[in-house]
């Protein structure tokens, strides 16, 4: 202690410490990737490299909701007309936006980046497939799809999340008209299936920053219930989805449940850091990414009331909602 007090001891240099730990971590990470490549070259599929609990806790400790709201406020500032074209052009160039299909191509029309982000498409830009019963609700990339097995859903291949954690307890059934025709359910998954001979399917569509960010009804259905889960706002890009197990259960999301011709149907919009808030056009009560909600809770709203036993009937391709910056 006396040596340190006299300045004779080794001095702690934060930059050196940071470089050493950062370099060590990167080397360790690169070694793991090298091992994965070796396995792949031998024809063995490498298991996904998942974040451990500490890494997830560290990521979740970042105030992503606060950052997202600040980002949203910043993007609501009206830009001077002369600045609009260079800023939006940079965004278009960075994220590969196709402005030819935007309803309004003139960049000066959008007062801020939020408005530009919510841009609509020309009516003929996206023909809705008539011959199939389920269509894509949005522009994006297919992360994963398939049957739900053992109450686990895959966000990407090999990385799963719990169906029950994702949807929450099944208390919306009273809002649905169809009566159960299957034997006594033994699991949460079975409780969702209402007709004999049916199975539960899922599909994940990732919307990249340059994509059209409104979403539409994927089929003809009746929306009976909405459940809003306030949560973290971690990135949902495919790399993070491969890294963090149960990512979609951690993040803020809005679950719409209802019925279609074959039974249960649900659409969930999952938020992310830069796209923190979700709007459902027919639901004026819904407010997402708001400081008044705490993580870990959920808020229910039933669209079925005494005056409206049907709920909200949506037609395939109809405008349903949108994601917003912040």
């Amino acid at each position: 202690l006396s040596a340190a007090a006299l300045g004779l001891g080794p001095r702690v240099r934060p930059l050196h410490l940071l470089l050493a730990t950062g370099g060590g971590y990167l080397s360790y990470d690169q070694y793991g990737r090298y091992k994965d490549r070796q396995l792949e070259s031998m024809g063995i599929e490498a298991p996904p490299r998942l974040a451990n609990k500490t890494q997830v806790a560290l990521y979740k400790s970042i105030p992503t909701r606060l950052l997202s709201r600040a980002w949203g406020r910043l993007n609501q500032v009206e830009l001077p007309t002369w600045l609009r074209k260079p800023i939006y052009s940079l965004y278009i160039w960075t994220f590969g936006v196709n402005m030819k299909e935007a309803a309004v191509e003139d960049l000066h029309h959008y007062r801020n980046l939020s408005e530009f982000f919510r841009r609509k498409l020309k009516p003929q830009a996206r023909p809705v497939c008539d011959s199939h019963c389920v269509i894509s609700p949005a522009d994006g990339k297919i992360l994963h799809f398939g049957r739900v097995r053992n109450c686990e859903v895959e966000q990407v291949k090999g990385v799963t999340y719990s169906l029950e954690t994702f949807l929450g307890p099944q208390t919306w059934a009273e809002s649905l008209a169809s009566s159960r025709k299957v034997a006594e359910p033994s699991s949460f998954q079975d409780m969702l299936v209402t007709k004999e001979g049916n199975e539960l399917f899922h599909c994940v569509v990732y919307l990249a920053p340059g994509d059209y960010h409104c979403f539409h009804s994927p089929t003809d259905w009746r929306v009976a219930h909405r459940r809003h889960f306030p949560g973290s706002l971690m990135s949902v890009n495919p790399g993070v989805a491969r890294w963090i197990k149960e990512l979609f259960c951690h993040n803020e999301r809005v679950v719409l449940c209802g019925e279609w011709t074959h039974g249960f149907f649900s659409l969930t919009a999952v938020g992310a850091t830069n796209v923190g808030s979700i709007r459902i056009y027919f639901d004026k009560e819904l407010h997402t990414n708001s400081p008044r909600y705490s993580k870990g809770s959920y808020n229910d709203f039933s669209y079925v009331s005494n005056g409206n036993q049907e709920g909200v009937c949506m037609r395939k391709g109809e405008h349903l909602g949108e994601f917003n910056l912040g």
Binding site: H132, V134, G140, I142, F166, H202, F265, L267, T268, G317
Partner: protein, 32 residues
Amino acid sequence: STIVLLFEAPRDFTFSLKPGQKIRFGEALGTM
């Protein structure tokens, strides 16, 4: 942002997709 669809359908429902493929709103996801 991400959209997750979860739905009940007859066993013969098949997706006409490939993981990682680009898709546009309005395009078919699968068929029965």
